[in-house]
């Protein structure tokens, strides 16, 4: 998967692309990642669907969307026409649904990659999400991988709500994932102390934004350390070029921007510009040289300044 630049939208945070196109040319994105597309149309969860928390946002949208047919008819062609590279995020409640969905996407033109949203509840396992269990996750990934054209990469999107992210990542790679995306939103909740009820109609929701960035950096770091050859799309609280670089130094080769776009519609192109400046300042010719660089053993840094600081401690 060759992308012209490493800044993508995060699934479910860029609408259909048309909304963002009011602010900037979506072809300038490394790729446009769709919201998670489901087989049938979905109305999602009742409102309120959002709650603000300190440096975070809880959401419970419930994968509202028009279903794969409408997506293929009205959304994907528009993105292709605009010259956007499209990564289609897919969601489902059973392995069979993921398979059917992938088959439907298999010969659609203009799909750069497929991202598998493993945070969907598994209706056959009491609604527990696939991502919590390596074997359930791997089964979904394998089913998608089998259905999608061999030259279209399959990305497994993981949740931080597990005891061992590396184990799940490894299972997904063994199941055929070409790349990993992390992190999806950890489950959180907020309670309105005046109404004395959960703020979200759905009760719990997914936590995003800078509050979760330390979790994202840690997950990316662990996965990159354990599986250095596997490309990782890092996400979770990226709002500036520095945040993007943090995930890249931890091991991501691309970053996705979600919640930041809600605050700044130009977030993606701005973050790309800031990231490029930071890389230039640090003398990197290629992004690849920065990927995972923070893993280098102490004392082997390429930067004089860094070493000096370290030796002065």
């Amino acid at each position: 998967m060759e992308l012209p630049n490493p800044v993508l939208t995060a699934a479910g945070c860029g609408g259909t692309g048309r909304e963002l196109a009011q602010f900037f040319d979506v072809a300038r994105l490394g790729a446009f990642v769709t919201r998670s597309i489901t087989m049938a149309p979905r109305a999602g969860r009742p409102t309120p669907r959002m709650a603000e928390t300190p440096s975070g946002l809880l959401n419970a949208v419930g994968l509202q969307g028009p279903g794969v047919e409408a997506f293929l008819e009205r959304e994907l062609p528009w993105l292709a026409e605009r010259g956007a590279r499209t990564i289609v995020s897919v969601g489902g409640g059973t392995v069979a649904e993921f398979t059917a969905l992938s088959r439907r996407l298999a010969d659609a033109p203009g799909i750069t990659a497929v991202e598998v949203n493993l945070s969907c509840p598994n209706v056959e396992d009491r609604g527990r999400m696939f991502a919590r269990d390596g074997s359930a996750a791997a089964e979904v990934v394998a089913s998608v991988r089998a259905a999608i054209r061999y030259d279209v990469p399959v990305i497994a999107k993981l949740s931080p709500d597990v005891a061992d992210i590396v184990a799940v990542a490894r299972s997904c790679v063994d199941g055929g994932a070409d790349a990993l995306a992390m992190i999806n939103t950890p489950a959180g909740m907020s309670i309105d102390v005046d109404a004395m009820r959960p703020t979200l109609a759905a009760g719990a929701g997914g936590l995003s934004g800078p509050a979760v960035r330390p979790l994202a950096v840690r997950c990316v770091w662990q996965a990159h350390a354990a599986l250095p050859g596997v490309p990782i799309i890092g996400m979770g609280g990226v709002t500036t070029g520095r945040d993007a670089l943090e995930l890249i130094l931890a091991g991501a080769c691309a970053v996705a921007v979600g919640t930041a776009t809600f605050h700044d519609p130009y977030a993606c192109p701005r973050i790309l510009r800031e990231l490029e400046e930071l890389l230039t300042e640090r003398g990197f010719d290629r992004l690849a040289d920065a990927v995972g660089l923070a893993h280098r053993p102490a004392g082997t840094g390429p930067r004089g300044r860094t070493d000096l600081e370290e030796s002065s401690l």
């Binding site: 409102t47 300190p54 440096s55 946002l57 279903g67 519609p265």
Partner: protein, 285 residues
């Protein structure tokens, strides 16, 4: 794209208290230019290094040509974001995105319009009134709130409107009661052709019911919790019946905030109606 929104940093020109509300006038030419009545903006609250991630949606009360174009916002303090906004001072800057949303549609031909406002919802009616009068419409105001100091714009309504009827729940100004108590009378007296309303959901439901009874169209501007305001987050949805009779969860920020009242399923706001497109267990069209 003439109507497309922009992000800009505007300097605050003036800040005022208006009864229970705060009013800010901000220099924002790019937004003022594109403004049509019913538009809103989103404001970044909390400043640099803030823990507040989401913008706050505020209706544009007024635009003026001064300094290349200004927008006036009127708001009540609710939580941390509006509390912060209430402390903004002249010469501070504000980060705005706008104009956003689907504005009030205007009638092609002159007609008689009743404009109903609840609490700060009245704020969006005066620019609308201007536009309607420019088109030769007659306008009548009905403004209500819980109590006198929460009725916004009574004076201006009295100046603009053919008639102005005020209601407060505690009787501290105008009639004791709700706007819906007086609305039938106002519609009948004015022989109104259309109703426009902005205010709390419960009020919009009531106003819609009255308009439906009179068999006249009603345009309502709704409020739902918004995380983005630009149509990408899907948090602000309301169940709305389409032309085809199918209920869809539509985004208040881009498909609204103004909807035809009789299309909004007010009783089902905060739920997913079982017959909505894609409802769980419902028919999947």
């Amino acid at each position: 794209m003439a109507g497309s929104p922009v992000q800009m940093t505007g300097t605050v020109l003036t800040t005022r208290r208006v009864d229970a509300y705060h009013a800010l006038t901000v220099v924002a030419p790019g937004i003022a230019d594109r403004f049509r009545p019913g538009h809103f903006v989103t404001v970044a609250a909390g400043g640099r290094d803030t823990s507040m991630l989401t913008r706050r949606a505020l209706t544009v009360h007024d635009v003026k040509p001064d300094y290349g174009g200004t927008v006036e916002l009127v708001f009540a303090v609710r939580g941390a974001g509006t509390a912060w906004l209430a402390e903004v001072k002249a010469r501070d800057t504000l980060d705005l995105v706008g104009p956003l949303g689907r504005p009030f549609p205007l009638p092609r031909d002159p007609c008689t319009c009743v404009l109903v406002g609840g609490e700060y919802g009245s704020a969006s009616l005066f620019a609308l009134g201007d536009a309607l009068q420019t088109r030769g419409c007659r306008i009548d105001f009905v403004l209500g709130a819980t109590t006198a100091e929460r009725v916004f714009g009574a004076l201006r309504a009295r100046r603009m409107g053919e008639t102005t009827t005020l209601t407060t729940e505690d009787g501290s100004l105008g009639m004791r009661g709700k706007v819906t108590d007086v609305l039938p009378g106002v519609i009948a007296d004015a022989r109104a052709d259309v109703v426009y309303a902005c205010g709390p959901m419960a009020m919009l439901r009531g106003v819609t019911a009255v308009a439906v009874e009179f068999g006249i169209p009603v345009q309502v501007a709704v409020e739902e919790h918004m995380a983005c305001g630009i149509g990408v987050c899907m948090t602000c949805v309301v169940p709305v019946i389409g032309e085809d009779g199918v209920t869809r969860m539509l985004r208040a920020c881009v498909e609204g905030p103004v909807f035809r009242g009789e299309r909004v399923r007010f009783d089902d706001v905060g739920t997913i109606p079982f017959d909505a497109l894609g409802a769980p267990g419902g028919r999947n069209v």
